[in-house]
Symmetry: C2
Subunit: 349 residues, 2 copies
DNA sequence: CTGAAAGCGCTAACAA
DNA sequence: TTGTTAGCGCTTTCAG
């Protein structure tokens, strides 16, 4: 029951060699004969030796830990994101360390700066969190390798991999139009006019911009009544907004592009409450491609973003930065691809 | 751009005191005058000092890190679990460290024993993972504070907090019967007879046992045809099994208790594929109370387990163990409560 | 209340 | 190939 773990020295004396030799043997470092290495490994295994990470981190300044920061775990989109990103981090030989900010900027800051993961303990950061400008981020992490996910700043200070927000939104609206929709509504943060898109772009603003552009190109209306404003991008928010909309008269749409899957799912749920059928009365398309969309009735048509590509690109950038510590690489910005997955919620038949 | 963080010494010389004084000041340890402390804090803040955790862990042997190990992140049940548990860990002043095993026993083992989080780096472990017997677990963690979630062993070696599997299942079946169901089907791993329940209980076995007992008590049939066997507890598995069932003739049930919410959601989805209506033709009830159940059409009636209570009890046990390091406490086993949440999937009307 | 000394366990650099 | 030395940054202990 002794929790005082075995140390290198213990292994060394048991093996009749020096601590240094054991250290090399265990790390597969050069400078140890195969015979010695094997023997050391066996003995280490035998006495249950585990390397003390604190010590080695203290010495080497490298932990192999990559922080992954998101807003929240229990949301389909983030559940998928942390799954994919953790797996990618592991596949690259690092250890992922997840944290959720619960949308709190102060939590984010303390998460990033203070306590456990300040200077040394993490070798890099991957973040998708609201209230996270590249400036702020850079000020906190001080040049530590980092990649932001879907940070839409025009002049990126920190490298980021972004979703195909505009393109995807365009495709969604065009698809609805092709399926015969002429009164297309949008569910998103709020109605925006041209000039509103100029400053501080955000993923949802960009999706709105893409949708707006598509509508105008198609000669379809885009005005205040086009947008069903939601206070947040969760199912609950969409349910509230749609309920309110219907309460003020029948909904005027035959197609609905929801700026993410959660609001799409909420919208379908709320429409059902009022006996409005999807897709017969209204066709609905979402954005993200969360796994839950497949299992709903009706199943959800969506703009599926390529998460595997996301993970690959993030890790690529991160590893480059880690390899180049000291001489900082310029920040990059890469956009990933998407596919439109057709399901029941937009069926014509 | 210097990534070489400020050290205690830097702060010390800037403040004109010794490193020791700074250390005490920053940790709120006794032995420093308020005046000195304030000055030190200000200076530390000013030059952006962050304590090097590796060093302090190395010295003190305590990291404040609690490992949380689950099978998988992108599953509604686990998404909820990690949210609740992380929050509880944080609320208790510790830092949660999440890991997913992807149901691999070897991943689990290496996760627990080798590499990063072996001996020192984590102060405790919370785990909900398959292939995780208490014995195995204990062998790996060697008396480190730990709590297993829903480990149903009769003679717990490690403390655990378990779900109300039997009671909840009983309540689910009774509820269906009260709603008029006479041909109640169960969706779960496989058909089990009395003797099958004796050995190596698992959560799903216990739910099956509770359901069986309820059926027999009610004088309703329980035989091989009662159970729709699934290969796993995800939506996909349930979809496959229900499809196969329907392919072999109309389904003989007017009520369906699915041993978790994911299979319930899958079942409803598959039934819809065949034009079978829920709840008109078949009433469906699930188990767990994942957030997604609310948003489905029909919304899902379920046995909602009290996750907040779970989190509280887990942390309580863990903290007791941490406080008692050295003289091990006896393993405990506590069952949490549940409520039946009525929604559309079992409506009568 | 403050500080000097020692060492946690490991590994980079060098010496043998 | 192996071993020795030194020190990462912090905190425990004990002396001032």
């Amino acid at each position: 029951m002794k929790r005082s773990a075995a140390t290198l020295k213990d292994v060394a004396s048991a093996a009749g060699v020096s601590a240094m030799t054991v250290s090399k043997a265990l790390r597969n470092a050069p400078g140890v004969s195969d015979k010695t290495r094997e023997r050391v490994l066996a003995i280490a295994q035998n006495i249950g030796y585990e390397t003390n990470v604190s010590a080695s981190v203290l010495k080497t300044g490298r932990s192999g830990i990559i922080q992954i920061i998101v807003n929240e775990y229990d949301i389909p989109f983030y559940a998928k994101l942390i799954d994919v990103m953790s797996s990618a981090v592991v596949a690259n030989g690092f250890t992922p360390f997840l944290q959720q900010t619960k949308y709190s900027k102060s939590t984010l800051q303390s998460t990033l700066s203070s306590s456990l993961f300040s200077g040394v303990l993490s070798d890099g950061v991957i973040a998708h969190a609201s209230g996270l400008s590249g400036d702020l981020f850079e000020k906190i992490i001080h040049g530590k390798p980092a990649v932001l996910i879907d940070s839409c700043e025009e002049q990126p200070v920190v490298s980021s991999v972004v979703f195909p927000n505009e393109e995807g939104a365009r495709a969604a609206v065009q698809y609805l139009a092709e399926r015969g929709c002429r009164n297309i509504g949008l569910i998103g943060p709020s109605y925006l006019e041209k000039q509103d898109f100029l400053h501080s772009p955000s993923p949802m603003k960009l999706r709105m911009r893409g949708a707006r552009a598509a509508l105008l190109d198609l000669g379809l209306p885009y005005d205040e009544s086009t947008v069903v404003a939601v206070e947040g991008m969760s199912e609950e928010h969409a349910i509230d907004s749609v309920h309110e909309l219907v309460r003020n008269g029948r909904i005027p749409f035959d197609g609905l592009f929801c700026l993410n899957d959660s609001t799409a799912i909420g919208a379908i749920r709320a429409l059902a409450d009022h006996g409005i059928r999807v897709p017969e009365d209204v066709k609905v398309i979402g954005f993200d491609g969360v796994r839950e969309g497949r299992f709903h009735v009706p199943s959800l048509t969506t703009i599926n973003v390529d998460m595997d590509q996301l993970a690959r690109l993030v890790m690529l950038s991160l590893k480059q930065q880690i390899d180049h510590e000291g001489d900082p690489l310029p920040a990059t910005k890469t956009t990933i691809g998407f596919t439109l997955i057709e399901r029941e919620s937009t069926q014509t038949r």
